[in-house]
Amino acid sequence: MLKPTSQAKFIFATLAALTLPMAAHADGERIAVFTKNQTNPFFQYVRLGAESAASQMNAKIQHYVPTKPDSIPEQISQVEDVVVKRPDAVVFIPVDNKAMVSSVQKMNAAGIPVVNVTDRIESGQIVSFVGADDFSLGLETGRFMLKAMGGKGNVVIIEGVKAALSSTNRVRGFRKALEEFPQVKVLASQPGNNQRLQALQVMDNLLQTHPQIDGVFGTNDAMATGVIEALDAANRKALVVGINGTKEAVDAVKAGKMLATGDYGSFLQGCFGTMSAIRYLRKMPVEANVVFPASLITKANIAAFDVPAEKLVCPKWESLIATK
Protein backbone atom coordinates (compact mmCIF):
# COMPACT_ATOMS: atom_id res chain seq x y z
CA MET A 1 0.00 0.00 0.00
CA LEU A 2 3.07 2.26 -0.02
CA LYS A 3 4.68 3.95 -2.98
CA PRO A 4 8.05 2.48 -4.15
CA THR A 5 9.88 5.62 -3.02
CA SER A 6 8.71 5.17 0.55
CA GLN A 7 9.58 1.48 0.41
CA ALA A 8 13.09 2.53 -0.50
CA LYS A 9 12.93 4.80 2.55
CA PHE A 10 11.93 1.79 4.67
CA ILE A 11 15.02 -0.09 3.64
CA PHE A 12 17.29 2.91 4.10
CA ALA A 13 15.81 3.62 7.48
CA THR A 14 16.19 0.06 8.68
CA LEU A 15 19.79 -0.10 7.44
CA ALA A 16 20.44 3.08 9.35
CA ALA A 17 18.76 1.65 12.41
CA LEU A 18 20.80 -1.57 12.21
CA THR A 19 24.22 -0.24 11.30
CA LEU A 20 24.38 2.67 13.72
CA PRO A 21 25.42 1.81 17.27
CA MET A 22 23.59 3.54 20.10
CA ALA A 23 26.41 5.51 21.74
CA ALA A 24 27.39 9.01 20.60
CA HIS A 25 30.56 9.26 18.50
CA ALA A 26 32.65 11.84 16.73
CA ASP A 27 30.87 11.42 13.40
CA GLY A 28 27.49 10.71 11.77
CA GLU A 29 25.42 11.53 14.85
CA ARG A 30 21.71 11.15 14.29
CA ILE A 31 19.84 14.36 15.03
CA ALA A 32 16.02 14.28 15.20
CA VAL A 33 14.53 17.64 14.12
CA PHE A 34 10.97 18.46 15.24
CA THR A 35 9.02 21.12 13.34
CA LYS A 36 5.36 22.19 13.66
CA ASN A 37 3.96 21.51 10.17
CA GLN A 38 4.79 20.90 6.53
CA THR A 39 2.86 23.79 5.07
CA ASN A 40 4.37 26.93 6.60
CA PRO A 41 7.47 28.03 4.61
CA PHE A 42 9.11 29.16 7.85
CA PHE A 43 9.60 25.58 9.06
CA GLN A 44 10.78 24.52 5.63
CA TYR A 45 13.63 27.03 6.01
CA VAL A 46 14.39 25.69 9.51
CA ARG A 47 14.61 22.18 8.05
CA LEU A 48 16.88 23.41 5.23
CA GLY A 49 19.10 25.15 7.76
CA ALA A 50 19.32 22.00 9.86
CA GLU A 51 20.28 19.91 6.83
CA SER A 52 22.88 22.41 5.67
CA ALA A 53 24.46 22.48 9.12
CA ALA A 54 24.38 18.70 9.39
CA SER A 55 26.05 18.23 6.00
CA GLN A 56 28.77 20.70 6.99
CA MET A 57 29.46 18.76 10.19
CA ASN A 58 28.50 15.43 8.56
CA ALA A 59 25.77 14.36 10.93
CA LYS A 60 22.48 12.77 9.88
CA ILE A 61 19.10 14.51 10.13
CA GLN A 62 15.74 12.85 10.69
CA HIS A 63 12.68 15.09 10.45
CA TYR A 64 9.54 14.69 12.56
CA VAL A 65 6.52 16.71 11.43
CA PRO A 66 2.93 16.15 12.62
CA THR A 67 0.66 14.93 9.82
CA LYS A 68 -2.03 17.27 11.18
CA PRO A 69 -0.49 20.78 11.22
CA ASP A 70 0.48 21.87 14.77
CA SER A 71 -1.19 18.84 16.36
CA ILE A 72 -0.15 18.55 20.01
CA PRO A 73 -1.18 14.92 20.58
CA GLU A 74 0.68 13.90 17.45
CA GLN A 75 3.94 15.62 18.40
CA ILE A 76 3.69 13.97 21.82
CA SER A 77 3.32 10.58 20.15
CA GLN A 78 6.26 11.33 17.87
CA VAL A 79 8.42 12.19 20.87
CA GLU A 80 7.45 8.87 22.45
CA ASP A 81 8.37 7.06 19.27
CA VAL A 82 11.67 8.93 19.07
CA VAL A 83 12.48 8.00 22.66
CA VAL A 84 12.16 4.41 21.51
CA LYS A 85 14.54 5.08 18.58
CA ARG A 86 17.05 6.98 20.74
CA PRO A 87 18.71 9.52 18.37
CA ASP A 88 21.87 11.14 19.69
CA ALA A 89 20.25 14.55 20.07
CA VAL A 90 16.98 16.35 19.37
CA VAL A 91 16.41 19.79 17.84
CA PHE A 92 12.98 20.65 19.13
CA ILE A 93 10.35 23.20 18.05
CA PRO A 94 7.40 22.58 20.40
CA VAL A 95 3.94 22.97 18.79
CA ASP A 96 2.91 24.41 22.15
CA ASN A 97 5.42 25.82 24.65
CA LYS A 98 3.47 24.59 27.68
CA ALA A 99 1.75 21.43 26.50
CA MET A 100 5.03 19.94 25.27
CA VAL A 101 6.85 20.31 28.60
CA SER A 102 6.02 16.74 29.59
CA SER A 103 7.53 15.49 26.32
CA VAL A 104 10.75 17.42 26.93
CA GLN A 105 10.90 15.85 30.38
CA LYS A 106 10.41 12.42 28.78
CA MET A 107 13.47 13.07 26.61
CA ASN A 108 15.41 14.36 29.60
CA ALA A 109 14.55 11.17 31.42
CA ALA A 110 15.76 9.15 28.44
CA GLY A 111 19.01 11.12 28.52
CA ILE A 112 18.58 12.59 25.04
CA PRO A 113 20.01 16.12 24.84
CA VAL A 114 17.45 18.66 23.62
CA VAL A 115 18.15 21.91 21.81
CA ASN A 116 15.06 24.13 21.92
CA VAL A 117 14.38 26.24 18.82
CA THR A 118 11.95 29.05 17.92
CA ASP A 119 9.38 28.79 20.76
CA ARG A 120 10.94 28.76 24.23
CA ILE A 121 9.65 25.78 26.18
CA GLU A 122 8.08 26.64 29.54
CA SER A 123 10.26 24.25 31.59
CA GLY A 124 12.40 21.12 31.25
CA GLN A 125 16.16 20.85 30.77
CA ILE A 126 17.50 22.08 27.44
CA VAL A 127 21.07 22.27 26.15
CA SER A 128 20.40 25.63 24.62
CA PHE A 129 17.67 27.82 23.20
CA VAL A 130 18.05 29.20 19.68
CA GLY A 131 15.40 31.59 18.42
CA ALA A 132 14.22 35.06 17.69
CA ASP A 133 12.29 37.30 20.04
CA ASP A 134 8.71 37.58 18.76
CA PHE A 135 7.95 40.48 21.06
CA SER A 136 10.80 42.68 19.84
CA LEU A 137 10.12 41.61 16.25
CA GLY A 138 6.57 42.86 16.65
CA LEU A 139 7.92 45.99 18.30
CA GLU A 140 10.56 46.75 15.64
CA THR A 141 8.37 46.00 12.61
CA GLY A 142 5.55 47.99 14.16
CA ARG A 143 7.81 50.91 14.98
CA PHE A 144 9.17 50.93 11.43
CA MET A 145 5.69 51.05 9.91
CA LEU A 146 4.33 53.63 12.34
CA LYS A 147 7.34 55.87 11.65
CA ALA A 148 6.72 55.48 7.92
CA MET A 149 3.14 56.57 8.55
CA GLY A 150 4.47 59.77 10.02
CA GLY A 151 3.24 58.80 13.47
CA LYS A 152 -0.44 59.30 12.71
CA GLY A 153 -3.35 57.55 10.96
CA ASN A 154 -5.41 54.37 11.27
CA VAL A 155 -4.05 50.83 11.50
CA VAL A 156 -5.58 47.35 11.65
CA ILE A 157 -4.05 44.18 13.07
CA ILE A 158 -4.50 40.74 11.45
CA GLU A 159 -3.88 38.18 14.22
CA GLY A 160 -2.55 34.65 13.72
CA VAL A 161 -3.84 31.44 15.28
CA LYS A 162 -5.24 32.31 18.69
CA ALA A 163 -3.60 29.37 20.43
CA ALA A 164 -0.11 30.13 19.10
CA LEU A 165 2.42 31.91 21.33
CA SER A 166 4.37 33.66 18.57
CA SER A 167 1.29 35.46 17.25
CA THR A 168 0.29 36.67 20.71
CA ASN A 169 3.79 38.01 21.48
CA ARG A 170 4.09 39.72 18.10
CA VAL A 171 0.78 41.49 18.70
CA ARG A 172 1.96 42.46 22.18
CA GLY A 173 5.12 43.89 20.65
CA PHE A 174 3.16 45.86 18.11
CA ARG A 175 0.86 47.30 20.76
CA LYS A 176 3.96 48.36 22.71
CA ALA A 177 5.18 50.19 19.62
CA LEU A 178 1.79 51.87 19.34
CA GLU A 179 2.25 53.45 22.76
CA GLU A 180 5.04 55.54 21.26
CA PHE A 181 2.65 56.96 18.64
CA PRO A 182 -0.42 58.30 20.45
CA GLN A 183 -2.03 59.79 17.31
CA VAL A 184 -2.26 56.36 15.65
CA LYS A 185 -5.68 54.75 16.07
CA VAL A 186 -6.28 50.96 15.99
CA LEU A 187 -9.48 50.40 14.01
CA ALA A 188 -9.71 46.63 14.44
CA SER A 189 -7.79 43.52 15.45
CA GLN A 190 -9.26 40.50 13.67
CA PRO A 191 -8.24 36.84 13.24
CA GLY A 192 -6.62 35.60 10.03
CA ASN A 193 -5.52 32.30 11.64
CA ASN A 194 -2.29 32.40 9.60
CA GLN A 195 -4.45 31.54 6.59
CA ARG A 196 -3.93 33.64 3.48
CA LEU A 197 -7.56 33.39 2.33
CA GLN A 198 -9.00 34.31 5.72
CA ALA A 199 -6.67 37.30 6.08
CA LEU A 200 -7.68 38.42 2.59
CA GLN A 201 -11.41 38.16 3.22
CA VAL A 202 -11.13 39.77 6.65
CA MET A 203 -9.30 42.68 4.99
CA ASP A 204 -11.99 42.82 2.27
CA ASN A 205 -14.59 43.24 4.97
CA LEU A 206 -12.62 45.76 7.03
CA LEU A 207 -12.06 47.89 3.92
CA GLN A 208 -15.84 48.25 3.74
CA THR A 209 -16.34 49.83 7.16
CA HIS A 210 -13.14 51.85 7.31
CA PRO A 211 -12.73 54.35 4.45
CA GLN A 212 -9.25 55.34 5.66
CA ILE A 213 -6.75 52.60 6.58
CA ASP A 214 -3.11 53.73 6.54
CA GLY A 215 -1.28 50.73 7.92
CA VAL A 216 -1.77 46.97 8.36
CA PHE A 217 0.21 44.75 10.69
CA GLY A 218 0.03 41.05 9.81
CA THR A 219 1.57 38.67 12.34
CA ASN A 220 2.99 36.59 9.50
CA ASP A 221 3.90 37.06 5.85
CA ALA A 222 1.22 34.79 4.36
CA MET A 223 -1.47 36.95 5.95
CA ALA A 224 0.33 40.19 5.05
CA THR A 225 0.47 39.18 1.38
CA GLY A 226 -3.20 38.20 1.57
CA VAL A 227 -3.91 41.71 2.84
CA ILE A 228 -1.95 43.19 -0.07
CA GLU A 229 -4.10 41.23 -2.52
CA ALA A 230 -7.22 42.61 -0.86
CA LEU A 231 -5.89 46.17 -1.07
CA ASP A 232 -4.98 45.76 -4.75
CA ALA A 233 -8.38 44.35 -5.63
CA ALA A 234 -10.05 47.32 -3.91
CA ASN A 235 -7.59 49.84 -5.40
CA ARG A 236 -6.77 51.06 -1.91
CA LYS A 237 -3.33 52.02 -0.59
CA ALA A 238 -1.92 51.23 2.82
CA LEU A 239 1.47 50.39 4.31
CA VAL A 240 1.67 46.65 5.06
CA VAL A 241 4.21 44.84 7.22
CA GLY A 242 4.51 41.14 7.97
CA ILE A 243 6.92 38.95 9.92
CA ASN A 244 9.08 35.90 9.01
CA GLY A 245 10.98 37.13 5.95
CA THR A 246 9.73 34.37 3.64
CA LYS A 247 10.60 34.32 -0.07
CA GLU A 248 7.30 35.86 -1.21
CA ALA A 249 7.54 38.61 1.40
CA VAL A 250 11.05 39.46 0.21
CA ASP A 251 9.72 39.64 -3.36
CA ALA A 252 6.83 41.81 -2.20
CA VAL A 253 9.22 44.20 -0.46
CA LYS A 254 11.36 44.30 -3.57
CA ALA A 255 8.27 45.08 -5.66
CA GLY A 256 7.39 47.83 -3.19
CA LYS A 257 4.06 46.22 -2.31
CA MET A 258 5.12 45.44 1.25
CA LEU A 259 6.85 48.01 3.44
CA ALA A 260 8.93 45.57 5.44
CA THR A 261 8.98 42.13 6.97
CA GLY A 262 10.54 41.17 10.30
CA ASP A 263 13.46 38.79 9.75
CA TYR A 264 12.76 35.68 11.83
CA GLY A 265 16.04 34.13 10.75
CA SER A 266 14.35 30.80 10.18
CA PHE A 267 17.23 29.34 8.21
CA LEU A 268 19.76 30.47 10.83
CA GLN A 269 17.62 29.02 13.60
CA GLY A 270 17.83 25.68 11.81
CA CYS A 271 21.60 26.10 11.35
CA PHE A 272 22.59 27.11 14.86
CA GLY A 273 20.04 24.85 16.53
CA THR A 274 21.53 21.84 14.80
CA MET A 275 25.13 23.08 15.25
CA SER A 276 24.57 23.53 19.00
CA ALA A 277 23.24 19.96 19.22
CA ILE A 278 26.21 18.48 17.37
CA ARG A 279 28.76 20.65 19.16
CA TYR A 280 27.26 19.57 22.48
CA LEU A 281 27.65 15.92 21.51
CA ARG A 282 31.21 16.60 20.49
CA LYS A 283 31.88 18.27 23.82
CA MET A 284 32.49 21.66 22.13
CA PRO A 285 31.31 24.86 23.84
CA VAL A 286 27.74 26.03 23.03
CA GLU A 287 25.78 29.16 23.85
CA ALA A 288 23.05 28.46 26.42
CA ASN A 289 20.84 31.12 24.91
CA VAL A 290 21.00 32.34 21.29
CA VAL A 291 18.42 35.02 20.52
CA PHE A 292 18.79 36.82 17.21
CA PRO A 293 18.41 40.58 17.50
CA ALA A 294 15.21 41.68 15.78
CA SER A 295 16.14 42.90 12.30
CA LEU A 296 13.97 44.05 9.43
CA ILE A 297 14.04 43.28 5.73
CA THR A 298 13.34 46.52 3.87
CA LYS A 299 13.99 47.94 0.41
CA ALA A 300 17.30 49.23 1.85
CA ASN A 301 18.84 45.87 2.71
CA ILE A 302 16.82 43.65 0.39
CA ALA A 303 19.78 42.47 -1.70
CA ALA A 304 21.27 40.50 1.18
CA PHE A 305 18.11 38.39 1.58
CA ASP A 306 17.17 37.90 -2.06
CA VAL A 307 18.79 34.46 -2.33
CA PRO A 308 17.03 31.30 -3.60
CA ALA A 309 16.52 28.63 -0.94
CA GLU A 310 18.81 26.05 -2.54
CA LYS A 311 21.72 28.52 -2.53
CA LEU A 312 21.53 29.12 1.23
CA VAL A 313 24.41 27.76 3.36
CA CYS A 314 24.95 27.99 7.09
CA PRO A 315 27.48 30.59 8.24
CA LYS A 316 30.35 29.50 10.51
CA TRP A 317 29.59 29.09 14.22
CA GLU A 318 31.95 31.94 14.96
CA SER A 319 29.85 34.39 12.89
CA LEU A 320 27.09 33.78 15.40
CA ILE A 321 29.28 35.01 18.23
CA ALA A 322 30.08 38.03 16.06
CA THR A 323 26.39 38.93 15.73
CA LYS A 324 26.00 38.99 19.51
Partner: protein
Protein backbone atom coordinates in the same frame (compact mmCIF):
# COMPACT_ATOMS: atom_id res chain seq x y z
CA UNK B 1 -32.45 -19.76 2.79
CA UNK B 2 -29.51 -21.22 4.67
CA UNK B 3 -28.61 -17.81 6.08
CA UNK B 4 -29.71 -19.35 9.34
CA UNK B 5 -26.41 -21.15 9.85
CA UNK B 6 -24.46 -18.04 8.88
CA UNK B 7 -25.62 -16.36 12.02
CA UNK B 8 -24.13 -18.84 14.49
CA UNK B 9 -21.68 -16.83 16.59
CA UNK B 10 -18.47 -18.29 15.13
CA UNK B 11 -19.63 -18.05 11.54
CA UNK B 12 -20.94 -14.60 12.30
CA UNK B 13 -17.51 -13.53 13.55
CA UNK B 14 -15.81 -14.85 10.43
CA UNK B 15 -18.23 -13.21 8.01
CA UNK B 16 -18.15 -9.98 10.02
CA UNK B 17 -14.37 -9.67 10.23
CA UNK B 18 -13.84 -6.29 8.57
CA UNK B 19 -10.96 -5.61 6.22
CA UNK B 20 -9.21 -3.64 8.93
CA UNK B 21 -8.29 -6.90 10.67
CA UNK B 22 -6.27 -8.06 7.70
CA UNK B 23 -4.76 -4.61 7.18
CA UNK B 24 -3.77 -4.56 10.85
CA UNK B 25 -2.10 -7.96 10.60
CA UNK B 26 -0.20 -6.85 7.48
CA UNK B 27 0.96 -3.64 9.16
CA UNK B 28 2.23 -5.54 12.20
CA UNK B 29 4.03 -7.98 9.92
CA UNK B 30 5.69 -5.25 7.85
CA UNK B 31 6.74 -3.06 10.76
CA UNK B 32 8.00 -5.87 12.97
CA UNK B 33 10.12 -7.17 10.09
CA UNK B 34 11.45 -3.73 9.11
CA UNK B 35 12.03 -2.18 12.53
CA UNK B 36 13.74 -3.98 15.42
CA UNK B 37 12.17 -1.56 17.85
CA UNK B 38 8.59 -2.15 16.82
CA UNK B 39 7.82 -5.22 18.92
CA UNK B 40 9.64 -3.95 22.03
CA UNK B 41 7.38 -3.92 25.08
CA UNK B 42 8.10 -0.22 25.53
CA UNK B 43 6.98 0.57 22.01
CA UNK B 44 3.84 -1.56 22.21
CA UNK B 45 3.01 0.33 25.41
CA UNK B 46 3.51 3.52 23.36
CA UNK B 47 1.05 2.40 20.71
CA UNK B 48 -1.41 1.49 23.43
CA UNK B 49 -1.17 4.80 25.25
CA UNK B 50 -1.29 6.77 21.99
CA UNK B 51 -4.54 5.01 21.08
CA UNK B 52 -6.36 5.49 24.40
CA UNK B 53 -7.86 8.93 23.69
CA UNK B 54 -9.02 7.91 20.21
CA UNK B 55 -10.61 4.73 21.57
CA UNK B 56 -12.48 6.62 24.27
CA UNK B 57 -13.95 8.76 21.48
CA UNK B 58 -14.51 6.01 18.92
CA UNK B 59 -16.55 3.78 21.28
CA UNK B 60 -19.40 6.25 21.79
CA UNK B 61 -19.04 7.39 18.17
CA UNK B 62 -19.87 3.81 17.16
CA UNK B 63 -23.14 4.05 19.10
CA UNK B 64 -23.95 7.45 17.61
CA UNK B 65 -23.35 6.18 14.08
CA UNK B 66 -25.46 3.08 14.79
CA UNK B 67 -28.39 5.42 15.41
CA UNK B 68 -27.82 6.73 11.86
CA UNK B 69 -26.35 9.88 13.40
CA UNK B 70 -22.95 11.52 13.63
CA UNK B 71 -21.19 13.72 16.19
CA UNK B 72 -18.92 16.27 14.55
CA UNK B 73 -18.55 18.25 17.77
CA UNK B 74 -16.57 15.56 19.61
CA UNK B 75 -13.10 16.97 18.95
CA UNK B 76 -14.07 20.49 19.94
CA UNK B 77 -15.92 19.27 23.04
CA UNK B 78 -12.79 17.29 23.93
CA UNK B 79 -10.72 20.48 23.72
CA UNK B 80 -13.23 22.44 25.77
CA UNK B 81 -13.54 19.79 28.46
CA UNK B 82 -9.74 19.47 28.68
CA UNK B 83 -9.59 23.21 29.32
CA UNK B 84 -12.38 22.97 31.90
CA UNK B 85 -10.69 20.02 33.55
CA UNK B 86 -7.33 21.77 33.70
CA UNK B 87 -8.68 25.03 35.12
CA UNK B 88 -10.84 23.25 37.70
CA UNK B 89 -7.85 21.16 38.73
CA UNK B 90 -5.67 24.23 39.08
CA UNK B 91 -8.37 26.00 41.05
CA UNK B 92 -9.42 23.19 43.40
CA UNK B 93 -6.53 20.72 43.20
CA UNK B 94 -9.04 17.87 43.22
CA UNK B 95 -8.85 15.50 40.25
CA UNK B 96 -12.24 14.00 41.08
CA UNK B 97 -13.87 17.43 41.03
CA UNK B 98 -12.07 18.39 37.80
CA UNK B 99 -13.09 15.17 36.07
CA UNK B 100 -16.73 15.48 37.08
CA UNK B 101 -16.75 19.08 35.88
CA UNK B 102 -15.38 17.99 32.49
CA UNK B 103 -17.79 15.08 32.19
CA UNK B 104 -20.72 17.33 33.11
CA UNK B 105 -19.83 19.91 30.47
CA UNK B 106 -19.45 17.13 27.91
CA UNK B 107 -22.77 15.69 29.03
CA UNK B 108 -24.44 19.07 28.61
CA UNK B 109 -23.21 19.35 25.02
CA UNK B 110 -24.29 15.77 24.35
CA UNK B 111 -27.80 16.41 25.65
CA UNK B 112 -28.02 19.56 23.56
CA UNK B 113 -26.93 17.69 20.41
CA UNK B 114 -29.22 14.78 21.16
CA UNK B 115 -32.15 17.02 21.99
CA UNK B 116 -31.95 18.86 18.67
CA UNK B 117 -31.28 15.69 16.68
CA UNK B 118 -33.91 13.51 18.35
CA UNK B 119 -36.73 15.72 19.59
CA UNK B 120 -36.54 18.45 16.92
CA UNK B 121 -35.45 15.97 14.23
CA UNK B 122 -32.70 18.30 12.97
CA UNK B 123 -29.97 16.69 10.85
CA UNK B 124 -27.24 15.62 13.32
CA UNK B 125 -24.38 16.50 10.97
CA UNK B 126 -25.22 20.19 10.77
CA UNK B 127 -26.32 20.43 14.40
CA UNK B 128 -23.10 18.97 15.74
CA UNK B 129 -21.17 21.08 13.24
CA UNK B 130 -22.77 24.05 14.95
CA UNK B 131 -21.99 22.88 18.48
CA UNK B 132 -18.45 22.22 17.27
CA UNK B 133 -18.13 25.95 16.67
CA UNK B 134 -19.74 26.75 20.01
CA UNK B 135 -17.37 24.48 21.93
CA UNK B 136 -14.32 25.82 20.07
CA UNK B 137 -15.40 29.37 20.77
CA UNK B 138 -16.01 28.75 24.47
CA UNK B 139 -12.61 27.07 24.81
CA UNK B 140 -10.92 30.11 23.24
CA UNK B 141 -12.93 32.59 25.29
CA UNK B 142 -12.09 30.72 28.46
CA UNK B 143 -8.34 30.60 27.79
CA UNK B 144 -7.75 33.38 25.28
CA UNK B 145 -5.89 30.76 23.27
CA UNK B 146 -3.39 30.03 26.03
CA UNK B 147 -2.89 26.56 27.48
CA UNK B 148 -3.41 25.85 31.18
CA UNK B 149 -0.59 23.97 32.91
CA UNK B 150 -1.70 21.40 35.49
CA UNK B 151 0.37 20.16 38.41
CA UNK B 152 2.37 16.94 38.42
CA UNK B 153 -0.36 15.03 40.30
CA UNK B 154 -2.22 14.30 37.05
CA UNK B 155 0.97 13.26 35.27
CA UNK B 156 1.78 10.98 38.20
CA UNK B 157 -1.66 9.42 37.87
CA UNK B 158 -1.08 9.00 34.15
CA UNK B 159 2.19 7.15 34.58
CA UNK B 160 1.06 4.99 37.51
CA UNK B 161 1.57 1.34 36.68
CA UNK B 162 -0.87 -1.32 37.88
CA UNK B 163 -0.47 -4.97 36.94
CA UNK B 164 2.07 -4.19 34.17
CA UNK B 165 -0.23 -1.62 32.57
CA UNK B 166 -0.52 2.12 33.03
CA UNK B 167 -3.80 3.51 34.33
CA UNK B 168 -4.87 4.98 30.95
CA UNK B 169 -4.56 1.52 29.44
CA UNK B 170 -6.77 0.15 32.19
CA UNK B 171 -9.25 2.95 31.59
CA UNK B 172 -9.33 1.99 27.90
CA UNK B 173 -9.79 -1.70 28.66
CA UNK B 174 -12.52 -1.03 31.20
CA UNK B 175 -14.32 1.36 28.85
CA UNK B 176 -14.24 -1.18 26.05
CA UNK B 177 -15.58 -3.84 28.39
CA UNK B 178 -18.29 -1.50 29.62
CA UNK B 179 -19.37 -0.61 26.09
CA UNK B 180 -19.35 -4.25 25.05
CA UNK B 181 -21.64 -5.18 27.94
CA UNK B 182 -23.75 -2.11 27.23
CA UNK B 183 -24.27 -3.16 23.62
CA UNK B 184 -24.69 -6.91 24.12
CA UNK B 185 -26.41 -7.29 27.46
CA UNK B 186 -28.44 -4.19 28.25
CA UNK B 187 -31.66 -2.62 27.06
CA UNK B 188 -29.76 0.55 26.18
CA UNK B 189 -27.54 -1.33 23.71
CA UNK B 190 -30.49 -3.15 22.17
CA UNK B 191 -32.36 0.11 21.74
CA UNK B 192 -29.34 1.88 20.23
CA UNK B 193 -29.40 -0.80 17.54
CA UNK B 194 -33.17 -0.43 17.21
CA UNK B 195 -33.14 3.37 16.84
CA UNK B 196 -30.99 3.05 13.74
CA UNK B 197 -32.65 -0.15 12.54
CA UNK B 198 -36.34 0.58 12.97
CA UNK B 199 -37.28 3.46 15.24
CA UNK B 200 -41.04 2.90 14.81
CA UNK B 201 -40.73 -0.66 16.05
CA UNK B 202 -39.19 0.69 19.22
CA UNK B 203 -41.89 3.30 19.75
CA UNK B 204 -44.62 0.73 19.07
CA UNK B 205 -42.97 -1.50 21.69
CA UNK B 206 -43.71 1.29 24.16
CA UNK B 207 -40.08 2.43 24.51
CA UNK B 208 -39.48 6.18 24.46
CA UNK B 209 -36.95 6.09 21.64
CA UNK B 210 -36.33 9.81 21.97
CA UNK B 211 -34.92 9.48 25.47
CA UNK B 212 -32.51 6.73 24.47
CA UNK B 213 -31.55 8.65 21.34
CA UNK B 214 -30.61 11.65 23.45
CA UNK B 215 -28.82 9.36 25.88
CA UNK B 216 -26.57 8.14 23.05
CA UNK B 217 -25.38 11.67 22.31
CA UNK B 218 -25.13 12.42 26.02
CA UNK B 219 -22.90 9.39 26.38
CA UNK B 220 -20.70 10.59 23.53
CA UNK B 221 -20.38 13.99 25.21
CA UNK B 222 -19.59 12.44 28.60
CA UNK B 223 -16.95 10.17 27.06
CA UNK B 224 -15.35 13.22 25.47
CA UNK B 225 -15.06 14.52 29.06
CA UNK B 226 -13.47 11.20 30.07
CA UNK B 227 -11.01 11.36 27.17
CA UNK B 228 -10.19 14.90 28.27
CA UNK B 229 -8.76 13.45 31.50
CA UNK B 230 -6.31 11.25 29.58
CA UNK B 231 -5.48 13.96 27.06
CA UNK B 232 -4.88 16.61 29.72
CA UNK B 233 -2.72 14.21 31.70
CA UNK B 234 -0.79 13.42 28.52
CA UNK B 235 -0.18 17.12 27.80
CA UNK B 236 -0.02 17.93 31.53
CA UNK B 237 -1.96 20.95 30.29
CA UNK B 238 -5.39 21.85 29.00
CA UNK B 239 -5.25 23.31 25.50
CA UNK B 240 -8.11 24.96 23.55
CA UNK B 241 -7.20 23.26 20.27
CA UNK B 242 -5.74 19.96 21.49
CA UNK B 243 -8.67 17.87 20.24
CA UNK B 244 -9.37 19.58 16.92
CA UNK B 245 -10.23 17.14 14.13
CA UNK B 246 -10.25 14.07 16.39
CA UNK B 247 -13.91 13.44 15.55
CA UNK B 248 -12.85 12.50 12.03
CA UNK B 249 -10.29 9.99 13.31
CA UNK B 250 -13.00 8.50 15.52
CA UNK B 251 -15.48 8.27 12.63
CA UNK B 252 -12.87 6.75 10.35
CA UNK B 253 -11.87 4.15 12.94
CA UNK B 254 -15.55 3.28 13.43
CA UNK B 255 -16.48 2.91 9.77
CA UNK B 256 -13.27 1.12 8.88
CA UNK B 257 -14.19 -1.23 11.73
CA UNK B 258 -17.30 -2.33 9.87
CA UNK B 259 -19.97 -0.11 11.44
CA UNK B 260 -22.37 1.35 8.91
CA UNK B 261 -24.30 4.61 8.69
CA UNK B 262 -27.44 2.62 7.89
CA UNK B 263 -29.94 0.39 9.65
CA UNK B 264 -28.16 0.18 12.99
CA UNK B 265 -25.36 -2.13 11.87
CA UNK B 266 -22.49 -1.87 14.30
CA UNK B 267 -19.48 -3.86 15.45
CA UNK B 268 -17.61 -2.70 18.54
CA UNK B 269 -14.58 -4.99 18.22
CA UNK B 270 -14.11 -3.64 14.69
CA UNK B 271 -13.92 -0.13 16.12
CA UNK B 272 -11.21 -1.27 18.54
CA UNK B 273 -9.26 -2.80 15.66
CA UNK B 274 -9.68 0.36 13.63
CA UNK B 275 -8.28 2.49 16.45
CA UNK B 276 -5.30 0.17 16.95
CA UNK B 277 -4.63 0.07 13.21
CA UNK B 278 -4.32 3.87 13.08
CA UNK B 279 -2.05 3.82 16.15
CA UNK B 280 0.17 1.08 14.73
CA UNK B 281 0.46 2.82 11.37
CA UNK B 282 1.50 6.21 12.79
CA UNK B 283 3.92 4.62 15.25
CA UNK B 284 5.46 2.31 12.66
CA UNK B 285 5.94 5.06 10.10
CA UNK B 286 7.62 7.22 12.75
CA UNK B 287 9.93 4.37 13.77
CA UNK B 288 10.90 3.89 10.12
CA UNK B 289 11.23 7.67 9.91
CA UNK B 290 9.06 7.81 6.79
CA UNK B 291 8.79 11.35 5.44
CA UNK B 292 5.82 13.09 7.01
CA UNK B 293 4.13 13.87 3.69
CA UNK B 294 4.19 10.16 2.84
CA UNK B 295 2.80 9.37 6.29
CA UNK B 296 -0.18 11.60 5.58
CA UNK B 297 -0.94 9.71 2.38
CA UNK B 298 -0.45 6.35 4.11
CA UNK B 299 -3.24 7.13 6.57
CA UNK B 300 -5.56 7.76 3.63
CA UNK B 301 -4.45 4.59 1.92
CA UNK B 302 -5.00 2.60 5.13
CA UNK B 303 -8.61 3.72 5.25
CA UNK B 304 -9.25 2.92 1.59
CA UNK B 305 -7.38 -0.39 1.77
CA UNK B 306 -9.44 -1.55 4.75
CA UNK B 307 -12.64 -0.70 2.88
CA UNK B 308 -11.36 -2.47 -0.23
CA UNK B 309 -10.94 -5.69 1.78
CA UNK B 310 -14.54 -5.34 2.90
CA UNK B 311 -15.65 -4.73 -0.68
CA UNK B 312 -13.90 -7.89 -1.88
CA UNK B 313 -15.39 -9.87 1.00
CA UNK B 314 -18.90 -8.73 0.11
CA UNK B 315 -18.41 -9.61 -3.51
CA UNK B 316 -17.09 -13.07 -2.63
Amino acid sequence: MNDTQVARPLMRLITHVPGVTWVLLMLILVFSSLSGNFLRAGNLANIGEQSVVLLLLALPMTFVIMTEGIDMSMGAVLSLTSVVLASTLVATGSIALALSAAVLIGLAFGVFNGGLASWLKLPPFIVTLGTMGVAQGLALVATDGDSIIVGTQLTRLYTTQFLFLSLPMWLAILSYGAFHVLLQRTRFGTYVCAIGGNRDALTLAGVSAGTYHVAVYALSGAMAGMAALVLTARLSAGHPSAGIGMEFDAIAATIVGGTSFERGKGWLLGTLLGVVAVGVLRNGLNLLNVQSAVQVSCIGLLVIAALLFDGLKDRA
